[in-house]
C-alpha cells in the first residue's frame, strides 16, 4: 500500500501534469484546426415524435397538432380527433387527420373504411381507389387512395386507412391528404406507409395463435407445460398427502401477472416469467400459512386430508372469483380485454414462435434443476425427508415448517411459471383452468401420485395420448368428434384410474407378465374363432 500510495502521489508531479496537458492541448488544437467550427445546420431534427392519447407517431417538423374531442368533450384516450397542418406553409402540403374510437361500431375493416370518407369533410365527393391490405405491427390495416373536391372548388388527393388496434379495442382512421393536385400518388403512399410505420406501441400486438403450427410443435410445448404442472401437483401431494385443487389456478394467477406486466408496464413477455413464478410461489406460501396449516392442525387425524381437499377446492373457486374480478377490472376500467390472458410480442425463428423453443428448454432446465435441488442440496434432502416421514424428519432436527413452506412456494412457482408461459401460447381463460386440472390430474395419477419422476412421464404421455386419441376418434367418427374434445381428459383419467390406480410407474414385472398373458389369451381366442 505504501509503495502504491507513494507511487500514486509521485506520478502526478507538476512536470508530468504539465506534459500531459501539453499533449492534450496539442491534440485538441490540431483537431479543432483541421475540423473547423461545427456545422449547426445539420443539427435541427426533421421530425418530431408525438406521444399521447395512448399512441405514438412521428410527424414532420413544423406541423401544428390540434386535438378535438367528440360530442363536445375533450379528446380522451378512448376517442378523439387529431388534425395536423402546417401553420406557416406557403405551398400546398400534407395534412394529417387521425380519428380514434371504439372498434365495436364496425363489423369489419372494409365497413370502417367506407365510413371513413364522410369523416374527411362536409360536402365532399370522393372517388375512392382500390383498397390495399397490409398490417402494421401485426394489426389488421387497410387503406385506399382517394380524390376529393369540396364545394368551394378545392381539390386534394390523399390516402385514407383504418387500423384496428386489437389490444386496446380502438379503431384508428388515419388520413394523409395533399392539396397539391400534381402530387405523385406513389410518393403520397410512401409517406403514408412511413407515417403508419411510426404508429406503434409495444402493447399493440396481436397474440400469436398456436392453431396454425405443426402438431409436433404444439404437442412439445403442451407436454412441457403439462410436465411443469404435473411435477408441481405431485410434489404438493407428496408433501401434504392431499390433492391441491387450487394448483392449476396458480397458473391463472401467473398468466394474470404476465398479462398485467405486459399490458400495463410494456414488459417483454419473457421478462414476466420470474415475476409470475415469484407471485405464484408467494401465494402458495400465504395459503399454507393462513389456511392449510391452521386448518390441518385443527382437523382430526382421520378426516384431515379430506378437509384439506375441500379447503383446496374452496381456495380454487375463490381464486377463480378473484381472477374474474381482475378480468373485469382490466376490461372495463383499464380498457384492456384480457382475451384469455394471451399476450403477444414473441419473436420468431424459422417461422416458429420463440416459445416453441424456449418453452421446452425452460421445462427441461426447471426439471433438471429441481432434480439437482432435491438430490444434491441439503435443503432438498430435508424436503424429501419431510415428504417421507414428517415426524422422523422433525426428530432429526429438520425444520418441517420451513420444508412445507418451501414446498408450497415451489409448487406455486412452477404452476405460475407454466401459466406465464401459456400466455404466449394459447392463453388460459377463467374456465380453462378446470379442463386443465383434469388433464394434469390424469398426468399425475398416470405417473403415480407419489412419484415426481413419474409425473414427468405422465405429463408427456397424457399430452401425446390425448392427441393420438383425438386423431383416432376423428378418423372413425369425423369432425363431429371435436364437440366431445373436453370429455377426453376425463375419459383418460377414468381409464387410468381403472387400469393403473397407482400409476404406470407402479406397474411391475408381475403386472406386465399378467398383461402379456391376457393379450396372448385374447389372440388365441380370436385365432380359434376365425379358424
Amino acid at each position: 500500500m505504501r509503495e502504491n500510495s507513494s507511487k500514486g502521489a509521485q506520478v502526478f508531479t507538476p512536470r508530468a501534469l504539465l506534459a500531459s496537458l501539453v499533449i492534450v492541448a496539442v491534440i485538441t488544437g490540431a483537431n479543432m484546426f483541421s475540423n473547423g467550427p461545427p456545422d449547426w445546420d445539420e443539427q435541427p431534427p426533421e421530425s418530431r415524435g408525438y406521444t399521447g392519447h395512448a399512441y405514438i407517431f412521428s410527424y414532420a417538423e413544423g406541423l401544428a397538432l390540434n386535438f378535438i374531442g367528440v360530442d363536445e368533450v375533450n379528446a380522451t384516450d378512448k376517442t378523439g380527433l387529431m388534425h395536423g397542418f402546417f401553420e406557416n406553409a406557403t405551398q400546398p402540403c400534407d395534412e394529417i387527420d387521425i380519428y380514434w374510437g371504439s372498434n365495436e361500431n364496425y363489423t369489419c375493416l372494409e365497413d370502417a373504411l367506407e365510413k371513413t370518407f364522410p369523416l374527411i369533410g362536409w360536402n365532399i365527393t370522393c372517388t375512392a381507389g382500390t383498397a390495399l391490405n397490409t398490417s402494421t405491427r401485426e394489426h389488421p390495416f387497410i387503406y385506399r387512395h382517394y380524390n376529393a373536391s369540396s364545394i368551394d372548388g378545392r381539390n386534394w388527393i390523399g390516402v385514407a386507412g383504418v387500423w384496428n388496434c386489437t389490444e386496446s379495442g380502438r379503431m384508428f382512421t388515419i388520413c394523409l391528404s395533399s392539396q397539391d393536385e400534381s402530387a405523385n400518388p406513389a410518393d403520397l403512399e410512401e409517406r403514408y406507409i412511413e407515417l403508419m410505420s411510426s404508429f406503434f406501441s409495444w402493447s399493440y400486438r396481436r397474440p400469436i395463435r398456436s392453431g396454425r403450427l405443426p402438431d409436433y410443435v404444439t404437442n412439445t410445448v403442451t407436454a412441457s407445460l403439462m410436465v411443469l404442472f404435473c411435477v408441481g401437483l405431485t410434489f404438493t401431494f407428496k408433501m401434504e398427502r392431499f390433492p391441491n385443487f387450487a394448483h392449476i389456478h396458480y397458473a391463472t394467477i401467473g398468466s394474470a401477472v404476465s398479462f398485467y406486466l405486459v399490458r400495463f408496464y410494456r414488459f417483454n413477455s419473457y421478462d414476466t416469467w420470474p415475476f409470475a413464478a415469484l407471485v405464484g410461489g408467494l401465494i402458495g406460501m400465504i395459503l399454507y400459512v393462513t389456511l392449510v396449516r391452521p386448518i390441518g392442525s385443527k382437523a382430526r387425524k382421520w378426516n384431515r386430508y379430506i378437509i384439506l381437499t375441500f379447503t383446496s377446492y374452496v381456495i380454487a373457486y375463490s381464486m377463480v372469483s378473484v381472477i374474474g374480478m381482475f378480468n373485469y377490472w382490466t376490461r372495463n376500467a383499464m380498457g384492456a380485454p384480457s382475451t384469455g390472458f394471451r399476450v403477444g410480442g414473441d419473436f420468431r425463428i424459422n417461422g416458429l414462435p420463440g416459445i416453441a423453443y424456449i418453452g421446452p428448454l425452460t421445462c427441461i432446465f426447471v426439471v433438471v434443476g429441481f432434480h439437482f435441488f432435491l438430490t444434491k442440496t441439503r435443503f432438498g434432502t430435508s424436503l424429501r425427508a419431510t415428504a417421507e416421514d414428517e415426524n422422523l424428519a422433525a426428530t432429526l432436527g429438520i425444520n418441517v415448517y420451513n420444508s412445507h413452506l418451501a414446498s408450497w412456494f415451489i409448487s406455486g412457482a412452477l404452476s405460475a411459471l407454466a401459466g406465464s408461459i401459456i400466455t404466449l401460447w394459447s392463453g388460459v381463460g377463467l374456465g380453462g383452468s378446470d379442463d386443465l386440472f383434469i388433464k394434469v390430474m390424469a398426468g399425475s395419477v398416470l405417473g403415480g401420485l407419489d412419484n415426481i419422476y413419474g409425473a414427468i412421464f405422465g405429463g408427456i404421455f397424457i399430452t401425446m395420448a390425448q392427441d393420438a386419441l383425438s386423431d383416432i376418434l376423428l378418423l372413425f367418427f369425423g369432425i363431429g368428434v371435436k364437440m366431445w374434445d373436453r370429455l377426453f381428459p376425463m375419459a383418460f383419467l377414468l381409464i387410468v384410474m381403472m387400469l393403473a390406480p397407482q400409476g404406470l410407474t407402479s406397474i411391475g414385472e408381475k403386472q406386465i407378465l399378467e398383461l402379456r398373458y391376457r393379450i396372448r389369451r385374447l389372440r388365441e381366442r380370436i385365432i380359434n374363432k376365425t379358424s
Partner: protein, 412 residues
Amino acid sequence: MIGEGDLGAAQPERGKEDRMRTLLLTRAQTVLRGATTTTRKTGRLQFIDFTRGVVMAIMAWDHASGFWNSSHHGGEGVMGAMPPFVNLTWFLLRFVSHYCAPTFIFLAGTVLALSAAKRLDNGESQWSVSSHMMKRGIALLILEALVVAPAFGASRFYFGVIACIGVCLIILSVARRLPPIVILTLSLIIVLNHPYLDLGFIPNDTWWGWYLRVIIHEPNSQWPPFTGLYPVIPWIGVMGLGWSLGTHLTGLNGDETKQLKRPLIMAGVSCLVAWFVVRALNGYGNLLPRLGNTAIDWLYVSKYPPSLAFLLWTLGGMCLIMALGLELQDRPNFNGGLTGMIQTFGRNPLFFYLAHLWLYRLRPPGVPRYNFSLPLVPTLGLWLLGLLILWQLCIRYERLKRAHPDSPLKYI
C-alpha cells in the same frame, strides 16, 4: 542461592516474556495502526459516499418524474434532438439531474482505483484484481439486460449507463496497468476530442454496424432494439478521470485528503467558468448550439453524447459537492440524520440504482392505463416517500452484504 542452572533456566523465561511483550506490543501497534488507517480510510471515503449519495437522490427524482410526469422530458442531444419543455421549472427539474451520470461514472472510476489499490495492498495478485473487475463488468452487463432495460421498457440490447460502466470496467481491468499519467492524458484526450471521432468506416446499414456505433460513440434510439444512450467513448474518459483522482487519493493520508477541499473548490469554480466561456463562444465544446440568451438556451447542453459544456457544468458541480462533503464530514452528526441517509445511498450505489428504478416505476392497481400523470407537488412527495423506502432497503441490503461477504452480492 540461585545456581547457574537456575539462572540458565530463568533467563530463557525472561527472554520468553520479553519476546511475548514485544510481540504483544507489535501486535497492539499493528492493531492501532490498522485502526488509524481504517479511520483515515473511512474519513477519506465518506465524502465520496456523500457525493454519490447526493446525486443518487437527485437521479431518483429524475426517474420518479420520468415515470410519473408527462411534462418530464429527456433525451437532450440524441441526434441533435431538443425535447420540448413546458416551462423553465420543468426544464430545471430535469436539468438538475444532469449531475447524476457524470458523477456516477466519475466516482465509479475513483472507487475502482481505491479498491484496486486496497486489494493489491491485501496481497492479491494483479490477475486477481483484473479478473474481479472483469467479472464485475460482466455482471453489470447482465444486470443492464435483465433488470435495468426492462425497467425502462427498453429492449435487452439497450446500452444504458450500467452497461456503459460495465464495458468501461472491462477496459480498465486491462488499461489500469498503464501508468496513471497516461490514463489521465488519454482520458482528457477522449473527453476533449470525442466529438471529432468519425465512425464512418463502420457500416450503419447493418444491425451490427449500427449497434456498434451506438455502443462506441453514437447514442440514439432510431433502430430498436439496438438502442443506447451511454456510448463508451466519451464516458470511458470520464471514468478515467475518476480513476486518476482515485490513484491520487491512494497516496494521501487523512490530513492531506482534508486539504483537498480547497483544490476541489477551485476545480469546481474553474469548470463553471470554463463552461460559461464555452457556452458564450458557442463553438467548440457545444454539441448543441446556444440558440438565444434565455436561461434555457444557456443551460440546454447535449447529454447524449456528453458535450464538453455538459461535462464542465456537471463535473464542476461534482467537485463542489465533494468539497461540501469534506467540509461536513468532520462534523459530529455527519453519520446521522440526512447526511447519514445520503451516505447510505452512496455506499450502495448499484443496489440503490436497481431498486429505485423498480420502485418508482411501480403503478398500483387502479391507476389509469393511458396518459396518467401526477402534478409536480405530489410527484415530489412520491419521490421523498420513495427515498425513505430506499433508505430502509439500503440499510438492510448493507447488513445482508456484510453478513455474506463472499456471496455474489459483492458484485452489486
